[in-house]
Symmetry: C2
């Protein structure tokens, strides 16, 4: 990779991306970027560089377009209902395959893996998705080895997470893998991630 930052992370955003799918990993990775001696860089980008309206209505303005985001070490592809039109968009799937060819680590949150499956990235590989979307995942690619118990599945150059909030756990794993367990623990402490669901 001839990239400026060896640890450049791009979070792809699109209309209908689920808010926490985007911001859970973004928070973890950007916190890491702010504190790590490896100087990772985390950027957001949309297809055309324009603002997007997420699934619940939150409007984000990304840093870049797909054309100008530059080489990435890690792609984070969120889920959300906005993934469904993208699974049928042949031009977009071609772009995803192009990213696969140039990006060492492809990651997805929730139903982001449906787009990866539709693009052929998950053929014969273990992966996960939102608990409600395993039938869809199999429909896009019946050869996917669906794991409906894992919080995230690390298959080397592809890491997929379960639904929405699972992106936080996956991102901590990515920090652990890209730097160290200690670095990931520092992020966890920084964002006070000692979850205690009250219901």
């Amino acid at each position: 990779m001839s990239t400026g930052s060896a640890l450049r992370v791009g979070v792809f955003v699109f209309d209908g991306a689920e808010e926490l799918d985007v911001v859970g990993p973004y928070e973890v990775l950007a916190y890491w970027a702010q504190h790590s001696a490896l100087h990772p860089e985390v950027v957001t980008f949309s297809a055309d560089g324009g603002g997007v309206r997420c699934a619940k209505g939150l409007c984000l303005v990304p840093d870049h377009s797909a054309a100008d985001v530059g080489p990435l070490h890690v792609l984070v592809y969120p889920g959300g209902r906005g993934t469904r039109p993208l699974t049928a968009d042949t031009e977009h799937l071609e772009w995803v395959r192009g990213m696969r060819a140039s990006t060492p680590l492809m990651t997805s949150v929730c139903t982001g893996s449906l787009v990866y499956a539709a693009a052929g990235l998950l053929a014969g590989r273990p992966a996960t998705t939102h608990w409600s979307a395993f039938d869809e995942l199999a429909a896009y690619d019946p050869s996917v080895l669906a794991d409906d118990e894992a919080r995230f599945v690390d298959d080397g150059d592809v890491v997929t997470s379960a639904g929405v909030s699972a992106g936080i756990d996956m991102a901590l794993h990515l920090v652990s893998r890209l730097e160290s367990v200690a670095a990931a623990r520092e992020v966890r402490r920084g964002i006070q991630y000692d979850p205690a669901p009250p219901v």
Copy 2:
């Protein structure tokens, strides 16, 4: 309250708000809004209605300004380094006191409680904040009954949460309180919030 929606929730955003402080509760509450028969409404707003750059660089465009957001049942005030200038902004603190007078339920995430303390809202009351900010909280108001063990503190018309990710737990509690435990469980299931920190 003479409000259109009895359950109108406003998430206040500002430059330097921490991303997950904003989006954790937003996701929980907006998911609830989309599924609840009570038809809650969740909106974002900034002081002047303009876009904001969050603490780690994410740019959000809110739905409203403070002037046009209208009456709220619940205010969510996030934390982040952007809270510090606001604790010294007398006009802003006056606005916070005005919101207190007209908003049944005032909530904060992380260091959002520093602004509430600076505005005098927490005098003699139990509250929490980010684990690293208890000295600051006491400096803004030494009469606050700081709780450094709770994930969130529900003191009736004020609910404060611990750092960053604790806003997710607080928001689930709010759904539980504003509708039912069953409704909160449905949201938890929807966002697959079965956290499993890998480090």
